[in-house]
C-alpha cells in the first residue's frame, strides 16, 4: 500500500508539534552549552598547564635534569668496562634505580654484591654532573 502525503498536510504544523520543536531546540541548546563549557574548561586547564611547562624557569630546570642524566650515562660508559657485572646501590632508592637504568646495554646489574665485579653509586658532588657524580669501585 502506498500513501502520498500532500503539501497541505505537510505545511500544517500543529501548535503542539511546534511547541515540542521549540522545547527540543531549547534542550539542544542546553546540551551544546553544557558540552561546550565542559570541554572549554578542560581545554583552558590544559592550555594553562602547557603555559606553565613552557616557562623559561621550567624549561631550564628540566633541561638541566636531562643533561645530568646524559652526563651520568656517559660517566658509566667511561668508568666501567663494557659487559662488567655491577652492583648498584645509593643512599636514595631513586638513584639506585637510575643507576640500573643507565647501565642498560653497557653493564649488567646484579641483584646481590656476590656476583658483581663493580659497585656503582651516585654521590653528591660539585662540578660533576650538575651536583651528582658516579662513584665506581672495583670489587
Amino acid at each position: 500500500m502506498v500513501a502520498v502525503r500532500s503539501w497541505g498536510d505537510k505545511l500544517s504544523v500543529s501548535l503542539s508539534e511546534r511547541s515540542r520543536q521549540v522545547s527540543k531546540r531549547v534542550c539542544c541548546a542546553g546540551i551544546v552549552v553544557a558540552a561546550a563549557v565542559t570541554l572549554g574548561l578542560s581545554v583552558h586547564h590544559g592550555l594553562q598547564h602547557t603555559a606553565t611547562l613552557d616557562r623559561p624557569s621550567n624549561i631550564a630546570a628540566d633541561t638541566t635534569a636531562f643533561h645530568q642524566e646524559e652526563c651520568l650515562y656517559h660517566a658509566i660508559r667511561s668508568e666501567v668496562p663494557k659487559g662488567a657485572t655491577v652492583y648498584v646501590t645509593s643512599a636514595r632508592w631513586q638513584y639506585t634505580q637510575r643507576l640500573a637504568e643507565l647501565s642498560t646495554l653497557w653493564a649488567v646489574p646484579q641483584p646481590t654484591l656476590a656476583t658483581a665485579q663493580w659497585r656503582l653509586s651516585f654521590v653528591h658532588a660539585r662540578g660533576h654532573c650538575d651536583g651528582l657524580a658516579l662513584k665506581a669501585s672495583r670489587l
Binding site: 508539534e17 511546534r18 546540551i31 570541554l39 578542560s42 646524559e70 640500573a100 649488567v108 646484579q110
Partner: protein, 496 residues
C-alpha cells in the same frame, strides 16, 4: 625534530598503505599510519623476544609482509577495493577533511611545545627508556634484561609498542640522544588523540564509508571539527605532565578511546571496523591495562557487528564473534603469553596486601571518583540527549551510547579490581597512578560529550518548517527514526 622524522618516515611511511587500505581518504589516515607502524614495530619486538634476531631486521620483514599482504588483497579484491572512500560530497567534503587535519594537527601541536624542555618522567626512564634500550640491544639483551631480577622495578612484562618505537628511533639516530625514546612516545600520544579527534569530526560530516553516511548540516560539521580540536587538547589536559614526558597511559587510553569511537560510535562499516581493530591492537600492545580494556572493547565491537539477535546459524555467528575478538587481540595476547612462558612478571601481585578489601575499595572509589568529575555532565547529556535526540542519533547511524558507557565502566571495573587485589600499599599506589589509569575513561566521557555536542548542534539549527513531499511505502514505519516530520536533516531515515 629527529623523533618527528622517525615518526613520519620510520613509522608513518610503512604504515601508510595499510592505513589507506583501512580508512581510504579519511583524515584519520594521517594519525593511523604512524600507529600502524608502531604496531608493526611491536610485532617485530615480539619476534625479537621469541627468536634470536634484531628489531630492525624484524621490522623490515614485518612491514614488507604487511604491505605485500595489503597489495595482494587489493589485487584479489579488484577495483572495488581500490576505490578510496572518504567523506562524501566532492570538494566540500575534501574541504572538511582538510580542515579537520589542520585543526587536529594544530591542537595536538600546542601541548607538544613542552618537548623543548626535554622532560623525562619517572616511568619514562625506569620503564620505557630501559625497555627501549633492551629492545635496541637485540634478542639476548632483551631476554636477559627482562629476566634480570635487578630490573624488576621496571615492570618487565609490559607490552612492547613503546619500547619498540623508541628502539627504532635509536636505530635511526643512534644512542647519542636518550630523549628520542620519550619524544616518540609523546608523538604517538598525539597521533592517538588525533585519531579520537578525527572520529568525532567524522560524526559531524560522515565517514563516507557507506552510501548513507553523508553527514549532517553545517552546524554539525562545524561542531564536529571544533570538538575534534577540543578533544585533542582535553586529552593532554587530563594527562597533565604525563602526556608530554614519556608516560604511555595517554597512548593506550587515547588509542582505546579511538577504538571506541570508530568501532562503537561511528556507523558500522568494514572500514570503520578495520580502523577500530587497528587502534585496539595498538592499545593492547602499549600497557597491560590497555590489553585488558581492549579485550572488553573487542567483545563489544563483535556484539555490535554480530548482534545476538542476528539470524542464521548460531555456531557460525559465535565463531565469527570469536574471530572478531581473537584477530586484533592476537599480538597483545601473544606478548602476554610469551612473557609468562619466560617466567617474567610485574611487581603488582608479588605479595599479598595486609589491608582489608573494604579499605582498598573505599580508597580506590574515592581516588577514582576524584578524576571523573566529567561523568555527571556526560551522564546528564546522555539522559537528555537519549530522551530528545534519539532520532537524530539514529538517523546519523551513530551507535547506541550504551556501548560507549559499557566500555568506560568495563575499563574502570578492571582497574578497580586490579587495585583491589594488587599487593602494593593502596594509598601510595593510588597517589602515584590513579590520575593515569583513569585517562581512558576521561577521554571517552569527554568524547561522549563532544558527540552529543555534534548531534545537538544539528538538532538546534534544524529548520523544522521546511517539508518536502514524500512517498511512504509503509505508513506504520514512517516514523521509526523517532523524529516526526523533520525531513530536512540530510540523511534518510534508518531503521535498526
Amino acid at each position: 625534530m629527529s623523533a618527528l622524522v622517525v615518526l613520519a618516515v620510520g613509522l608513518g611511511l610503512p604504515g601508510l598503505l595499510p592505513a589507506v587500505a583501512a580508512a581510504g581518504r579519511s583524515p584519520v589516515v594521517v594519525f593511523l599510519a604512524p600507529l600502524i607502524g608502531a604496531g608493526m614495530a611491536a610485532v617485530a619486538a615480539l619476534i625479537e623476544l621469541g627468536v634470536p634476531s634484531s628489531l630492525l631486521v624484524n621490522y623490515t620483514v614485518v612491514a614488507a609482509v604487511v604491505n605485500l599482504a595489503v597489495l595482494a588483497w587489493w589485487r584479489v579484491a579488484g577495483r572495488r577495493a581500490w576505490r578510496l572512500t572518504g567523506p562524501a560530497g566532492g570538494w566540500s567534503a575534501a574541504g572538511w577533511s582538510a580542515a579537520t587535519v589542520v585543526v587536529v594537527a594544530g591542537c595536538v601541536a600546542i601541548p607538544l611545545t613542552a618537548l623543548r624542555a626535554h622532560m623525562i618522567g619517572w616511568d619514562a626512564n625506569s620503564i620505557w627508556l630501559t625497555h627501549a634500550l633492551m629492545v635496541y640491544g637485540g634478542h639476548h639483551q632483551l631476554v636477559t634484561g627482562l629476566q634480570n631480577v635487578a630490573y624488576q622495578f621496571s615492570n618487565p612484562d609490559y607490552p612492547p609498542l613503546v619500547p619498540a618505537s623508541g628502539a627504532l628511533a635509536f636505530g635511526f639516530h643512534g644512542l647519542s640522544d636518550l630523549d628520542l625514546a620519550p619524544e616518540m612516545t609523546v608523538l604517538l600520544n598525539a597521533c592517538a588523540l588525533g585519531a579520537v579527534g578525527t572520529g568525532i569530526a567524522a560524526a559531524g560530516y560522515g565517514t563516507g564509508f557507506t552510501a548513507g553516511d553523508t553527514g549532517g548540516r553545517w552546524p554539525a560539521r562545524v561542531a564536529g571539527v571544533a570538538g575534534a580540536g577540543a578533544i585533542c587538547l582535553v586529552g593532554f589536559a587530563v594527562s597533565a605532565s604525563f602526556g608530554v614526558e614519556g608516560y604511555t597511559d595517554l597512548l593506550w587510553g587515547a588509542a582505546a578511546a579511538a577504538a571506541v569511537i570508530w568501532g562503537l560510535v561511528l556507523p558500522t562499516s568494514p572500514r570503520a571496523l578495520a580502523v577500530a581493530w587497528a587502534f585496539a591492537a595498538a592499545a593492547s600492545l602499549t600497557k597491560n591495562e590497555g590489553l585488558a580494556t581492549t579485550l572488553v572493547l573487542l567483545v563489544l565491537i563483535a556484539l555490535r557487528y554480530r548482534p545476538l539477535t542476528m539470524p542464521g546459524s548460531a555456531v557460525r555467528n559465535w565463531a565469527e564473534r570469536a574471530v572478531f575478538v581473537a584477530v586484533p587481540a592476537l599480538p597483545g595476547v601473544a606478548w602476554a603469553g610469551l612473557i609468562r612462558l619466560l617466567g617474567i612478571h610485574d611487581a603488582f601481585f608479588k605479595s599479598a596486601s595486609g589491608e582489608s578489601l573494604v579499605t582498598r575499595a573505599e580508597a580506590t572509589t574515592v581516588g577514582m571518583a576524584a578524576h571523573l568529575a566529567v561523568a555527571p555532565v556526560a551522564l546528564a547529556a546522555l539522559l537528555v540527549g537519549g530522551w530528545l535526540l534519539r532520532g537524530e542519533r539514529e538517523r546519523a547511524r551513530l551507535g547506541n551510547p550504551v556501548w560507549l558507557w559499557i566500555s568506560c565502566i568495563g575499563s574502570l571495573a578492571i582497574i578497580f579490581g586490579t587495585y583491589l587485589i594488587g599487593g602494593l600499599e593502596i594509598h601510595s599506589w593510588l597517589a602515584n597512578s590513579v590520575n593515569r589509569t583513569t585517562i581512558f575513561a576521561q577521554v571517552v566521557l569527554y568524547s561522549e560529550l563532544a558527540i552529543w555536542l555534534v548531534i545537538a548542534a544539528d538538532g538546534a539549527f534544524a529548520r523544522g518548517t521546511k517539508r518536502v513531499p514524500e512517498v511512504i511505502s509503509d505508513p506504520d514505519a514512517a516514523d521509526t527514526s523517532g523524529a516526526e516530520g523533520d525531513y530536512t536533516y540530510g540523511r534518510p531515515p534508518v531503521r535498526r
